[in-house]
Symmetry: none
Subunit: 578 residues, 2 copies
Amino acid sequence: MIKTDDVLKLDAERLWIYDTTLRDGAQREGLALSVSDKLKIAQHLDQLGIPFIEGGWPGANPKDAQFFEQVRAQPLTQAEVVAFCATRRPGLRAADDPMLQPVLAAQTHWITLFGKSWDLHVTEGLKTTLDQNLGMIEETIQFFRHHQRRVIYDAEHWFDGYRENPEYALATLGTAIAAGAEWLVLCDTNGGTLPHQIAQGVGAVRTWMQSQPQVTKSVQLGIHTHNDGGTAVANAIAAVQEGARMVQGTINGYGERCGNANLCTLIPNLQVKLGYNCVTPAQLATLTSTSRQISEWVNLAPDDHAPFVGLSAFAHKGGIHVSAVQRNPRTYEHLDPEWVGNVRRIVISEQAGLSNVLEKARHFGLTLDKQHPASRAILHRLKQLESEGYQFEAAEASFELLIRAALGQRFDFFTLKGFDVHCRTQLAGEASALDSIALATVKVAVEHQEILTAAEAQGPVSALDAALRKALANFYPVIDQFRLTDYKVRILDSSDGTAAITRVLVESSDGQQRWTTVGVSANIIEASYQAVAEGIEYGLLRQLPEGATTHDALLVAIAHARSCPLMSVDASPAILGL
Amino acid sequence: MIKTDDVLKLDAERLWIYDTTLRDGAQREGLALSVSDKLKIAQHLDQLGIPFIEGGWPGANPKDAQFFEQVRAQPLTQAEVVAFCATRRPGLRAADDPMLQPVLAAQTHWITLFGKSWDLHVTEGLKTTLDQNLGMIEETIQFFRHHQRRVIYDAEHWFDGYRENPEYALATLGTAIAAGAEWLVLCDTNGGTLPHQIAQGVGAVRTWMQSQPQVTKSVQLGIHTHNDGGTAVANAIAAVQEGARMVQGTINGYGERCGNANLCTLIPNLQVKLGYNCVTPAQLATLTSTSRQISEWVNLAPDDHAPFVGLSAFAHKGGIHVSAVQRNPRTYEHLDPEWVGNVRRIVISEQAGLSNVLEKARHFGLTLDKQHPASRAILHRLKQLESEGYQFEAAEASFELLIRAALGQRFDFFTLKGFDVHCRTQLAGEASALDSIALATVKVAVEHQEILTAAEAQGPVSALDAALRKALANFYPVIDQFRLTDYKVRILDSSDGTAAITRVLVESSDGQQRWTTVGVSANIIEASYQAVAEGIEYGLLRQLPEGATTHDALLVAIAHARSCPLMSVDASPAILGL
C-alpha cells in the first residue's frame, strides 16, 4: 500500500517538468516518429502529469505543423503543448521573417524560443555581431508577446558562454527578461559541464537576477542538460538545488549523441528523494509503464538497467541476498519499486535457493510452498539445467514451464518428432558473392496426428520457425498472431570454438505482451528449436482460461483440426527436396 | 595531434582507479565470464593503466580460484590483481574460518575485504551484535596483515549506515584503520544516494579522520558507487572533490541492477575535466577500443550512446551543425574525441576515418599514405561493410585482409564454390530427448582444381569448419595446426527476430598467436563460413615469407598436392547423403 506521504509531502514545493522527447529526443540516431506516434506519446505524457510538452518546431518540418493541428483536435487534459523555434534571422524584422509565421499558426499558449548565449556561436555560427544577437532575442520575444504568446527562453550553450564571456551571457538573459520571457532555461547544449559547474552557473544567475531591478518574481529559472559527461541527471538536480524550478528532459533520456537528461530518472529523484511536487503519487506509479510503452512506440529496445524503470532495476540475485530483501526490502533497495510502478524481481541464477523458486512461483500465480514435494524437485532440475548451460534470468517463460512441468500443469500442445534443416550456399555468378538459402522440414504430432511441413527462408532459424508455425497454425490459429521479436545467441565455454555449447534466447510477442524462452545445445539449430517451440507453447498457454486442462486444450485443437483437413498439404517429399 | 598538456597536467595529483568488472561487473544479469575471458580482460585493463584489478572472490566460486592461479602464470605489467572477500563469519576465529584460506591461496599482495557499516545489516542480515561485527572486521584484517597482505577495506552500505547510525558507521571505519587497513572505501551499495549526500558523507569522514590520533597519512579514502539513482558517476566525482583518492567502478558500467559507476565515463571526467592523473595520455587514447573490446568479450551489445566511448558520442547530423563543427569543433563538442580514442562522426558522410585507416595499415606493416589511391577505396569499402553490419574493432585480421585486397596483396589460397550444411534432429528413443547431427559438404578450388569434402559434427558450424579444413589440409598441411579458439554470435537489428542480420566473430590460433575474423549475413551459417574461411586465409598468410606472391604460395600448394593424389577421396556422393 503506497502512502501518499512517502512520495509526495503536503507542503512540497512545485517543480515544472518540461518534456522534449518529441523534439530533442527525436534527434537520437535511429529514432523516427510519425505524427500518430507523436500524438500517442503526447497523450501519454499528459496522463503522466507532465505540465509542458514540447511538440516540435512548426515550419522546420511539415510533420511538426501537422502534429500541432491534430493535437488541437484532441486536446490534452492538463498539459500545455509548446512550440519550439529559433530567434529571427539576422537582418530581418521579426514580423517579416517567414520562419516565425508557422510558429504562430501552431496556436499554442506557450512558445519556447532558443537563442545564442555564447559569443563564439554568435560570431562563428550565426556570423553576426554580439549586439545584433541581442536584438534578435529581444525582437523575437516582443513579437510573440505582441501576439499574446507566453515565452520560455532557452539559452543555448549557456554554461559554455558563461565560462568564456560571463558578461555577455548574462546580457542575453537580461534582454530576454526585458522583452517579456517568463522562464529562462539555462542549457548545457554540448553536455560536458559537471555538476559543480552547473551549480556555480545557476547560482551566479540567481545572484545576478536579485541585482536587476527589472526582474519580477514571475521570472523563473529552468535547466536543460545533456549527458555527454554522463552527469545529465546530476546536473539537473544541482540546478534545482540552486533554485531552478523547470526541468527539461526526455523519456528514457533519448536525444542526440549521449542523450538528454532522463525524466524517468529525474522525476523520482526530485519527488521522492528531494521532496518536490512534480506529479501525483498515482501518476508516479505509471512511470515504469510509460517508459516501456514509449520505448515500444519509438521501436527501441528498453534499457533493462535503467534506474527506477528498468527490468533489472530492482532485481535480486543469490540466496542470502534474496532472503534479506524479503525480510526487509530496505536492506538492498533504495526505494520501494511500487512507487514508480516497477516490481521487485527475484532473479533465477546459479546462486538460487528455494526462496527464489517459491517467490517466482508466487509471481507466476502458481501455488507452491516449501513443503510441496515439487519444490525441491524444481530446485534440483534448475541446478541441473544451469550446469548444462541453461540460464533462466532472462527466460522467465521457460522457467514457468519448468515449474508447471513439476506440478503436472504443462500442456502437451504438440510433440516434436524431428526436423531437418538444410542450408545451401553457392557462388552467385562471376563475382565472388555468395547466394544462400535455408530449407526446414518439421514433423510434429498433435494428439497422435502427425503433421509434416516445410518452409524456406534466408536463414536456418527463420526457416525452422516458419515450418513449425505452419505445422501448428491449423490446430492453433492464434499462432498467426505470434511473432519472434528478439533472438540472442551466446556461445558458452567458447574456448572450444564452434563445438562449444550454444544458448539461444528467443523473445516472442502476441502483439500485447512479450515473453522469453531459452534453448541450449551443442547444435545451434537444436537450441533455437527448443527456444522457439517453448515460445509457442507459452503463448498458447496464455490463451487458456484459468484452470484449463491439457484435455480441454486438445479438444479445442482437435475440433479445429477436423474442420481443416488440408493442414499438411505442403508435406510432399518433392517439395522438401530431401 | 594530442598535446599531453591537454589531457594530463605535469603537476596533476594521482588518483587510483580500481576496476571491479570481473567481480561486481559480473553480477550483471546475462553477463557470464569464463576464466579465459577474465584473463583477457585483466590483461587489457593492465594495458589501460588501471592500477588495481579485482579478480574475484577466491573460494566462493571455483572459476575465481582458477583465475588467480592462471594470472600468476602470465603476470601483468603494472596492475595489482586483488582478491575480494567478506569478513570472517560470526562465532569463528579468522584462522579457523575455511572461507579465508582460499583468499590467501590466491597469493595477491592486496586483499579487498568488505564489512558491514549499517547496523540494520548487522542485526537483520548477519544476525549478530554490533560489537561482534566490529570484532569480525578487526580480526579479519589482522589475520590478513599477519600474512603480509595489504588491505583495502570496502565499507558496504556506508552511506545508508551513516545516515541512520553515524556513530556506529564511523566506529567500523575506526576499527578497520586500527587493524591495519590502508584504504577505506565508502560504498553506496544500494546506489540511491545523491551527489550532495555523498559529498556530506565523505566530508564527514575526512573531518572525523583528522580528529583520530591513530590515523596516519598512509590511510586514504576511496569511493564505490552504484547507479540506482542515475548518478553513480556524479557521486564518485563528488567524493573525489571531497578528498577520496581511489575510485571503484567497472568498464561500461556493468553491474547488478542499474550497474556500477562507469569507468569509461569517470576516467575522462576525472583526468581531462578535473585535472587528476589517472592514466597516461596514450592509455587514455585506448579507452574507446577497451570499452568496445570488452563488450565483445562479454558478448553484450555496446551502448552506442555511452558518454565518451559510444559510437554516437561525437556524432553530428547534417547541415549547419556539421559545418560549424568542422570550422571549430568546440562549437558542438565538449572534448576532443581523439583524447579518448573515439572519432567525430559526421552522419551520412565519409569525412572521418582516413587517419584511422592509415594508422591501422601502419600497424599491420603495410605501406599506405593519404595520396595512395587505395586509401579512399579502403575507406569507402569499410563504410559500406559497416553499414551492412560488419565491425572491425575486434576483427583486425579481417581488416588487414580488406586493406591487402585494395593493395592487391591478398592471396587466393582457395576459392569457395559452394557448401551444403544439413542438420537433422530426431526424437531419441522413448524419452523426449533429442538427437542431433550436422553434416557439411564443401567444394573449393585451389588453382583450378576442385575439391569436394564432407564432415560430420555435433553442430553445423563445426561440421563446416571440419569439411573446409579437410579440403585444404592436403594443399596446406599447416592448417592441421590451426584451431578455432573462440566463436561469438551477435544478432543485429534483432527487432526482426530470426530474420535479422547475424554477425559472427571467429578467433583462430596456430598455437602461438591468435587472430580474429568477422562474417555477416542474414544466414548464420554463411556468416560463420565467411569468418572461418578468412581465419584460415589469414593463418596461411602468416606462414608466407615477407614479399611472397600469390604465385609463390600456390606453387608450394600445388607441389604438395601432386604428392597427395588421394586428397578428395572422401567426396563420394553416397557418403554425402545429399
